[in-house]
């Protein structure tokens, strides 16, 4: 089975989606264990695949035994497997977290459907990471996006529905742009295979059609990754989605957009093109820098915890893109490292927010007074997540900051250096306010209802992520061993 792992990681959740549907048909309680075991299996498969990738460098798989330029090829290299592991790890934890957390937020008769769509989303994001075919990438992007729209609007109440609809509209527009980009490329070259494209494109680097295609890609992907001026769908979607879904969106769905961006920028178009022929990186990095500052400032202005986290995500996406946009080894490493780091810390924080909502129903920061005593473990996770977001060593947040800042110095980009450092102060402002309310202000009277922590299925994923914030910070060499060659190979042309 080892040689079929690339396709199995995609097929497993696909089968699982419908199995959990059937399981839920037999009895509603079966849907969750099926989904969980499924993602667990898939994660194991991904780990096995990692072993292979570490041994062989690149693992290729031809779907239906068609040879590459004609058939769909699955290609797994270090970047893929790195992103895949992040996505599956977070999906697994979100899935575990969802068992109890969706109880309040989603009507019971929809639970089966929730897990089905959850698994479809996982299938989609997995597909994006393993495919080496640009159209296949688009298809999976759409699968996961559609699943995401559904999940956002799956909660009780109308706000989620509206947010989901807005997300749908923006997402579809972005999909159109990406599709147009793919269409242009196909028209120009007659191939959809990424490696093939990278091979045949260089002589066409001056072609206007290619430039048009590229612009389509950039705009489309910017919407998907919620780059600053195109982020408008994000805050509502993150805020009004059920807590599990918020965690999933901020960690898994956003990362897949970033991954697609990196792939298309560096593996389809090459560094040579994006730097030499169509100098878009400069522009992207400036946008990212603006996103960092604007996201942080907007986050400071928020009173709703989840909305605050959502705006902070806008800023953090900027971090990743800034790292990618500076086009040097150190910054690139920092940007890619931040994909993991942001997933870990933001996942943790959204789960904490969900836990607060689960226990007390409070969403506003002002209401969270004295939570430190009432929910000690949850609050401890919050502290670690928040410190990590601020970038206090030795948490993960610091590690990406270190690389990004060194990269900025290397590139001689003083403004970006200032932005990176200033943003950590800005995030200190809004996270510290939160910590102040949670720990250092006494709650007014006993709030009736829940005291004590959330149930274990919610608590454990949260604590695992909090621990990961520290562990991946202290043992940062583990992800780095995967990333270093990636950054090098992506920048191969320079």
């Amino acid at each position: 089975m080892m040689e079929h792992l690339p396709v199995l990681v995609v097929i497993i959740p696909l089968i699982g989606a419908y199995t959990s549907l059937v399981g839920g048909w037999v009895d509603r309680r079966y849907a969750f264990p099926i989904a969980f075991i499924n993602i667990l299996t898939q994660f194991t498969a991904a780990l096995l695949l990692t072993v292979r990738v570490m041994q062989e460098g690149v693992v290729r798989y031809n779907l239906g035994d068609w040879l590459p330029p004609w058939g769909i090829e699955y290609v797994v290299d270090r970047l893929n497997i790195y992103v895949l592991l992040i996505l599956l790890f977070l999906s697994l934890l979100c899935c575990a977290y969802s068992k109890r957390s969706i109880g309040m937020e989603i009507e019971e008769r929809k639970h089966t459907g929730f897990y089905t769509i959850f698994l479809l989303l996982v299938a989609g994001v997995t597909g994006i990471t393993v495919t080496g075919d640009i159209f296949n990438l688009y298809v999976f992007l759409e699968i996961s996006s559609l699943a995401a729209y559904t999940l956002v609007s799956s909660g009780r109440g109308g706000k989620g529905l509206v947010a989901g609809f807005n997300y749908l509209v923006m997402g579809s527009v972005s999909a159109c742009f990406i599709l147009l980009g793919i269409g242009h490329l196909y028209m120009l070259t007659g191939t959809l295979n990424m490696a093939d494209l990278a091979r045949v494109l260089p002589p066409l680097y001056t072609s206007t059609t290619l430039h048009t295609a590229f612009v389509f890609f950039i705009v489309g992907l910017s919407i998907k990754t919620a780059l600053f001026p195109l982020h408008l769908w994000l805050p509502d979607a993150y805020t009004h989605a059920p807590s599990t879904v918020s965690a999933l969106l901020s960690t898994v769905v956003s990362k897949m957009g970033v991954y697609a961006t990196i792939r298309i920028l560096f593996s389809v178009f090459t560094v040579e093109f994006v730097v030499g022929y169509f100098p878009v990186m400069e522009f992207l990095s400036w946008l990212a820098a603006i996103a960092i500052i604007a996201g942080s400032l907007l986050a400071i202005a928020q009173r709703d915890l989840k909305r605050m986290l959502a705006y902070s995500s806008v800023g953090q996406m900027g971090y990743i893109l800034l790292g990618v946009g500076m086009v040097n080894q150190l910054a690139m490493t920092g940007g890619i490292l931040h994909m993991l780091n942001h997933a870990v810390m933001k996942g943790c924080l959204f789960m904490v927010a969900g836990a607060f909502i689960f226990r007390t129903g409070f969403r506003r920061i002002d209401d969270l007074k004295g939570m430190g005593k009432r929910m000690p473990w949850t609050s401890a996770a919050l502290v670690i997540g928040a410190l990590s977001m601020i970038g206090i060593p030795p948490t993960v947040g610091f590690m990406s900051k270190w690389y990004l800042a060194l990269g900025a110095i290397e590139a001689g980009q003083w403004v970006f250096l200032a932005v990176i450092l200033a943003s950590s102060l800005l995030s200190a402002v809004y996270f510290w306010r939160l910590l102040e309310y949670v720990y250092f202000r006494e709650g007014e009277g006993g709030v009736e209802g829940g005291t004590g922590d959330v149930p274990l299925p919610m608590l454990i994923p949260m604590l695992v992520l909090a621990a990961a914030c520290l562990l991946f910070g202290i043992f940062v060499s583990i992800p780095l061993s995967l990333i270093d060659p990636v950054a090098e190979s992506l920048l191969g042309g320079v």
């Binding site: 206090i392 060593p393 250096l417 510290w432 250092f440 202000r441 202290i474 940062v476 780095l480």
Partner: protein
């Protein structure tokens, strides 16, 4: 002599961290928490003490903890230079643990687990700053120090404490960013950040860049509370007295001053520092801080605030000493770290004693308090005399060395600053002593007795220690300082 590989420094830092974890886990049981805290302090001190003979023999102890990032190791390296600071903070942790227990019992303290845990982490970070083998390690623990002291500053949970906490963080986190910036630049320019005697920057940067870097370092070490970046320190005095005593008189601020010394001696190197004219700038800043803070101190009526301004002035002695760039000056600066710590902690402890037994904070209300609390005020008097720099207390020796250093450097204005500062110190301390002993006790003080034993004993102990250090300055601090200076000069 070859450096010695040994995990002892690492364990010494690990012990308080583990203690913090234990304390947090047993948050319901007050006595247990106190026992953990006390035990950890004794253990830590013992571990640091183990290092002392080795360092005295001239050997250096290193331990590479972890290769965190390429080019940035987490490593420890104990030399005479760092051991001075490490010994100071770990030994004082024992007395302040005792003192905290007494103080918190008397005050009916709340959130004790948080308090003791944060305290332990802060001490561990201060130790790690002292033993850091490179700038990266120093930076990491410098940041942890900032974060871990925040809960202590806002411990009371009042609106005032919150505001103070925000100011504290605003200053120190910003400083942390500047320190990170400096660290990154050092890494970029020199390709490394290990502390090397003689500096690593020489030949890697122009004078202009060195000056800029010096400025960012200086802002980064705002914990040293030089003016005008000092105002967080008096504000942080809302913290409970043990915190003000140990952290804001010893660990935190000294971490700043110590860091600056490390950077000047081991990153810039003395030659580069004098070639780029960095010492002049630092002398100017330190002198201004010494004089201005003394005047500020004169104007304070709140005892803790007056002590805080006094601390600001005394810290700049250290900066001044290192800025002289002469062996005597640096030795004086190094000596001033422990000596000032012992004296100032005495003063803060006694201020706390007064607060505990009478509830008074303002000097003008302390009329005749010395007659009611003779032991407390006796300790205070000893500390005050020492800070002013009069023999036979230990403060005299560090100031003497500093003065010699300034003569050696030919900087006569510095000598004048030192002398006038002593006069000013006397001017703000002696009125307190006079009020305490000579004025008639106020009505409301009638019937008040000495402070509780648990807070009184630490105060007396530190007072006696500062006296003993004054009588026998050689062991161990003077010797260590001489060794450190010799190592810096390149000798064995």
């Amino acid at each position: 002599m070859e450096p010695l590989e040994s995990p002892v420094p690492f364990i010494a830092i690990l012990v308080p961290f583990c203690a913090a974890a234990l304390i947090l886990l047993s948050y319901r049981r007050r006595r247990l928490i106190e026992a953990y805290s006390l035990l950890a302090s004794i253990l830590t001190f013992a571990l640091v003490l183990i290092l002392l003979p080795r360092v005295m023999e001239g050997s250096e102890v290193t331990w590479s903890v972890l290769k965190l990032l390429p080019g940035a190791n987490l490593g420890l390296h104990v030399d005479a230079f760092g051991l001075i600071f490490a010994l100071t903070s770990s030994s004082l942790w024992i007395v302040s643990s005792l003192y905290s227990i007494g103080y918190m019992n008397a005050h009916d303290g709340h959130n004790l687990a948080r308090f003791y845990a944060a305290f332990a982490i802060a001490i561990a970070s201060a130790l790690a700053v002292a033993m850091a083998a490179n700038l990266f390690t120093l930076f990491i623990f410098y940041e942890i120090l900032t974060i871990s002291t925040y809960p202590l500053v806002v411990h009371e949970g009042t609106e005032e404490a919150m505001r103070a906490g925000r100011k504290y963080l605003a200053y120190l986190l910003t400083a942390g960013v500047f320190l990170l910036l400096s660290l990154l630049f050092t890494q970029h320019l020199a390709g490394g950040n290990e502390f090397t005697s003689g500096g690593i920057l020489a030949g890697h940067a122009t004078d202009f860049i060195v000056r800029i870097l010096f400025l960012t370092f200086l802002i980064g070490f705002a914990k040293a509370a030089w003016m005008p970046l000092h105002s967080w320190l008096p504000t942080a005095m809302v913290a409970p007295t043990p915190v003000s005593a140990l952290l804001h008189a010893v660990a935190v601020v000294k971490a700043g001053a110590f860091g600056m010394m490390r950077v000047i001696c081991y990153i810039f190197g003395l030659e580069l520092a004098s070639a780029a004219g960095l010492n002049m700038a630092l002398i100017l800043i330190a002198s201004v801080t010494i004089l201005v803070s003394s005047f500020f101190a004169l104007a304070q009526d709140n005892l803790k605030r007056r002590l805080a301004y006094s601390t600001i002035g005394q810290l700049s002695y250290i900066l001044l000493g290192v800025a002289l760039l002469t062996p005597q000056g640096i030795a004086g600066a190094l000596l001033h770290i422990p000596f000032h710590a012992y004296m100032k902690i005495t003063l803060f402890f006694t201020a706390g004693c007064i607060l505990v037994s009478t509830g008074l904070e303002n000097i003008s209300e302390m009329k005749g308090i010395g007659r009611r609390m003779p032991l407390t005020m006796g300790a205070f008097t000893l500390g005050a005399i020492g800070v002013c720099g009069f023999p036979p207390l230990c403060g005299f020796f560090s100031k003497l060395l500093l003065a010699e250093g300034s003569v050696e450097a030919g900087a006569i204005p510095v000598l004048l600053v030192l002398l006038s500062s002593s006069v000013l110190n006397a001017a703000y301390f002696f009125p307190i002593i006079r009020t305490a002993f000579l004025d008639d006790p106020a009505e409301e003080l009638r019937g008040r007795k000495e402070a509780p034993v648990l807070v009184l004993i630490p105060s007396l102990a530190t007072a006696l220690l500062s006296l003993l250090m004054g009588l026998y300055p050689a062991f161990p601090f003077l010797e260590l300082a001489t060794m450190a200076v010799r190592a810096l000069a390149g000798g064995p």
